[in-house]
Symmetry: C2
Subunit: 218 residues, 2 copies
Amino acid sequence: MKVVVLVSGGMDSVTALYQAHRDHEVIAGLSFDYGSKHNHREIPFAASHCKTLGVRHEVISLGFMNDLFKSDLLRSGGEIPEGHYEASNMKKTVVPFRNGIMLSIAAGYAESIEAEGLVIAAHSGDHAIYADCREEFMAPMAEAIAQGTDVDLQVLRPFIEMRKEDIAAAADELGLDLADTWSCYKGGEIHCGKCGTCVERKEAFLLAKLIDGTVYEG
Amino acid sequence: MKVVVLVSGGMDSVTALYQAHRDHEVIAGLSFDYGSKHNHREIPFAASHCKTLGVRHEVISLGFMNDLFKSDLLRSGGEIPEGHYEASNMKKTVVPFRNGIMLSIAAGYAESIEAEGLVIAAHSGDHAIYADCREEFMAPMAEAIAQGTDVDLQVLRPFIEMRKEDIAAAADELGLDLADTWSCYKGGEIHCGKCGTCVERKEAFLLAKLIDGTVYEG
């Protein structure tokens, strides 16, 4: 199947890219610069992995989200909270309907370049705080995309029932070095090790019993 | 209900804006500049009507669609075909998943400004060629938006069962002069009168037995 992969440059979506490259014909990788504090750190990893695989890579700028949307993940928002990802203070890092927006744009782009499927790396660990990562959202969104395109475009969500440590293990099997991905929401020089997504990243390596090659602060 | 209205500046969405202003609390009107040949003609009408009603108006630029998407409606596409809207040659003016993209972005924005509903003016006459105007698309899209936001955002589609002439009649009842709206896909100085959307516009006034104040070429 000809697919477009949503690839942020984080460990989940980069793994999805390599897995899709094994299982499908990846005709493009798509990244979004929506004004988060860490987009400038993660997108170069997306670009680099697409280049390695010989996959066309496009970056779509959604600067209006930083201007008009309310979220601490955005440059216009408050400070990134520290602590576990599933904690209530991480709620402030939700970017309203982000996956809906990215999937919709990817759907229009995919139809334009004659793809048959879209791949998104949402996983079960995201479900607690992200409404737009849950299957209750994904199933009707996939139906809307199939109905709203002339090509009956499919939304593939290979990790929807997996935990982040399962993704880390899958990456290891694919021979992918996850040190070459970015998670930290703070977007500093190196991973802070303290924000929700850094805590979750560390935990994934630990639970998957894999060496974490990431350099963290402190 | 606090609502955001998708308002392009065409006769349908401007009528939806006035009707929503009568029936709800409109907290914003939202226009999209996605690189069509006529965006620069229609958006000023959207701005002007929002100003008249004292409604905040935002224009979101989606320039990447002109660069990456395939459609003769876009500046990057071929010539706008002439003839009836439902004819097969009008298919080339479809912008892939446009309504999905606009609704998704509007959903994220609406959640950010604490709206409870979104209004979109899709009507039954659009159904023939636009997959993303049909209720088969709208129903799952509305479900995805309700599930994918924390506020259970509602998608209102007041015209989904109406024909364009019914909308013209509704505008007349609202005291709205539809000459102050823009349809023509060619985006010239005045309406061409020959492209699909001009033909459909003329037909709507005729069938609604209303005077058409639009100035057409020739």
